[in-house]
């Protein structure tokens, strides 16, 4: 064997180039690019909410009931201008939205992520093992999907009680089945390909074949489901909070902010509900634009 110095790994460069190519393909759609930019901006705003927000909406000592229900642009007693107005407790709505966004995105992303892991493991196992285990898992999926998500979440939260963690459990419980079904569908196709047979012929372990061979080739459709389900999780959480079973009052999410303003709606204080609603809408549209583009990119029928 000659020296192996000349085969130094061009690893990082190759990976970066692939990523850049993917980014360029993604950006070919201006709507998707705009969606991605808005989404990144919203995530940054949510992450850095404590630095950006003029007021800490959780600090009740800072609130003054005299500032309650100020319309957008009013100047408060403290001299501060509330650009989006204040809510029924005198909270600055802009700050409340930033913090609410933080909670909504966190709950949505975390529950989508955990559901992704659970659903992927179960779906891959079902496809790879087959037989009775496949049937058992997929009947569970059918059972879960035959009930409306909101119903299951409501029942779970009625049992568990309110709270961010409990809301996430409920969201995970209603979401994992979508991942399981998606992964199983693509894994059933990939399993029949000869490289899986080759891996079995090389007597690699089942876990290795699942994780190293099957999973990487089933990832693409999952990415699309993740974006769609994340949007779904955020709406569902907002709905649950709106109904008063989701997150606690002390940590208002976007849904809870909308619910809080609801009672003042007919009194003319429209802004308390509308602006959190608009924020939620922007999040949804941004995520869905990205998801649509990803779906197009990963659809083999539309390739080339």
């Amino acid at each position: 064997m000659s020296d192996t110095a000349f085969i130094a790994p061009p690893r990082r460069a190759v990976r970066l180039r692939a990523l850049a190519a993917f980014g360029a393909a993604f950006a070919e759609s201006p709507a998707a690019l705009a969606g991605a930019l808005v989404f990144v901006a919203l995530v940054l705003a949510a992450v850095f909410a404590p630095l950006i927000a003029p007021q800490n909406p959780y600090d009740l000592a800072k609130l003054s009931i005299l500032d309650a229900r100020l319309p957008p642009g009013s100047v408060a007693m403290s001299g501060y201008t509330h650009i989006l107005g204040t809510d029924g407790l005198g909270r600055d709505l802009f700050s409340a939205i930033l913090y609410g966004l933080r909670i909504s995105l966190m709950v949505g992303a975390l529950s989508a992520f955990v559901a992704l892991i659970i659903g992927t493991v179960l779906g891959l196992t079902a496809a790879y093992v087959g037989g009775r285990i496949d049937s058992a898992i997929m009947r569970l999926v059918d059972l879960q999907m035959s009930f409306p998500a909101i119903l299951i979440a409501l029942i779970l939260l009625a049992i568990l009680g309110r709270g961010a963690d409990k809301t996430m459990i409920a969201l995970i419980a209603v979401q994992w089945a979508y991942y399981a079904r998606t992964v199983r569908a693509s894994a059933l196709v990939e399993r029949e390909r000869e490289y899986i047979e080759a891996a079995q012929g090389l007597r690699l372990g089942h876990v290795r074949i699942l994780m190293r061979h099957l999973l990487p080739n089933c990832i693409a459709p999952l990415l699309v489901v993740v974006t769609v389900q994340m949007a779904h999780a955020i709406t569902l959480e907002a709905t649950l909070s709106f109904l008063g079973v989701g997150l606690p009052e002390t940590q208002p999410s976007l849904g809870l902010l909308i619910a809080n303003g609801y009672q003042y709606m007919l009194g003319g204080s429209y802004w308390i509900s509308i602006y959190p609603g608009v924020a939620l809408l922007i999040v949804m549209v941004a995520i869905n634009l990205m998801g649509d583009r990803l779906r197009d990119l990963f659809n083999p029928a539309l390739k080339r």
């Binding site: 192996t4 085969i7 047979e197 090389l202 372990g205 080739n217």
Partner: protein, 349 residues
């Protein structure tokens, strides 16, 4: 390959390295419980049984190449997968060097199982599209502790060199190669665990004719250098003629004729083999004498009674449609499953 010494009948081949004994494989499409209930009520529902391989016995001597030919759908790929230990036979046994390799999973020694490897037909589908060549080649030897992590690059480069690829292929992905190069990578992967027995399932069928010759030559030189025992599956008699010491012809799950390569091409005894040979495009004749085997291959779900080939056979007799012929031993270690090959005085064998 140069060594074409007359081999004995397969039953007597005690020196056989790889041995398939009465191997059968059935695939059962089970009916659902609803259909089962209906069947009990008298409706016509039953499990669908495909007899892909029926009572096949083969023996390959160490360092020899056995060609397995037949039309598509005759069960040759299934047989190949059984021989490579990828499928468990429904009945019968497969052994290699005296040890059984026919059961997947833990009951066989992994080191033994690794000695039988497979080269697949479609070089794109048989390589993991998300694995780099270096990982494709080194994953199994690393996982089984055959090489050390530090030797990984050198090992992979060596395997690539062995199959005629440059070491700069190491960090590329399968889709960046041509079909022939991918097949070389597939061969390198099979060689990575130093097998003694290689099952090649139509390894050149998906390639250009010019590339086919290169891959065949590569397999021949590897076979010689590594003293590989090879089961070479193909529907192309021309390829098989070039490569194999002995040839088995398969039809609808059964071996219908076995003979040394030269003998088979010189004088085929089974009508199906004759038909296949006529089908071979010939350059020497000046024009293509192309006579395809008439008719379709019957469904293995419902094979014809008697000799499976009789509906398409030009020499079919009355007996062929009722009685299935056994193997008749012919001179020079040839065997044919045809009444025409029956020794004159006494019927049966």
């Amino acid at each position: 390959m140069l060594d074409r010494a007359p081999s004995h009948t397969l039953e007597a081949a005690d020196t056989a390295f790889v041995r398939l004994n009465d191997v059968s494989k059935r695939f059962v499409g089970r009916i659902s419980s609803v259909e089962r209930a209906l069947a009990r009520l008298g409706f016509d529902y039953r499990d669908q049984v495909v007899r892909a391989v029926t009572d096949v016995s083969l023996a390959i001597e160490k360092g020899k190449v056995l060609g397995l030919v037949g039309e598509s759908g005759c069960g040759k790929s299934t047989l190949g997968r059984i021989a490579a230990g990828l499928l468990t036979p429904s009945a019968g046994s497969v052994s290699m060097g005296g040890e059984r390799i026919d059961r997947m999973g833990t009951r066989c020694d992994t080191r033994t199982l690794l000695k039988a490897q497979m080269v697949f037909q479609d070089p794109m589908a048989s390589l993991n599209p998300r694995q780099k060549v270096v990982d494709i080649i080194t994953e199994a030897p690393l996982a089984h502790g055959l090489i050390r992590g530090a030797d990984r690059l050198a090992f992979a480069a060596e395997r690539l060199e062995e199959v005629g690829l440059a070491a700069d292929a190491l960090y590329r992905l399968p889709h960046q190669f041509s079909g022939g190069q991918r097949q070389r990578i597939g061969i390198a992967r099979a060689l990575s665990v130093s097998p003694d027995f290689l099952v090649c399932d139509e390894p050149v069928a998906a390639l250009d004719v010019s590339i086919q010759a290169q891959i065949i030559n590569l397999l021949m030189s590897l076979q010689e250098r590594r003293q590989l025992t090879i089961l070479f599956i193909s529907h192309d008699l021309g390829v098989v003629k070039h490569l194999c010491d002995r040839i088995a012809v398969m039809y609808l799950g059964e071996i219908v004729e076995q003979a040394d390569a030269a003998a088979l091409f010189a004088s085929p005894s089974h009508p199906y083999t004759q038909a296949l040979l006529n089908e071979m495009p010939s350059v020497k004749a000046g024009r293509r004498l192309y006579q395809p085997v008439e008719g379709e291959i019957p469904s293995p779900l419902d094979p014809p009674p008697g000799c499976h080939f009789h509906p398409r056979c030009r020499a079919a007799m009355a007996r062929c449609s009722s009685e299935a012929p056994p193997f008749f031993a012919l001179p020079d270690g040839r065997r044919a499953r045809c009444w025409l090959a029956e020794p004159a005085p006494s019927p049966g064998a």
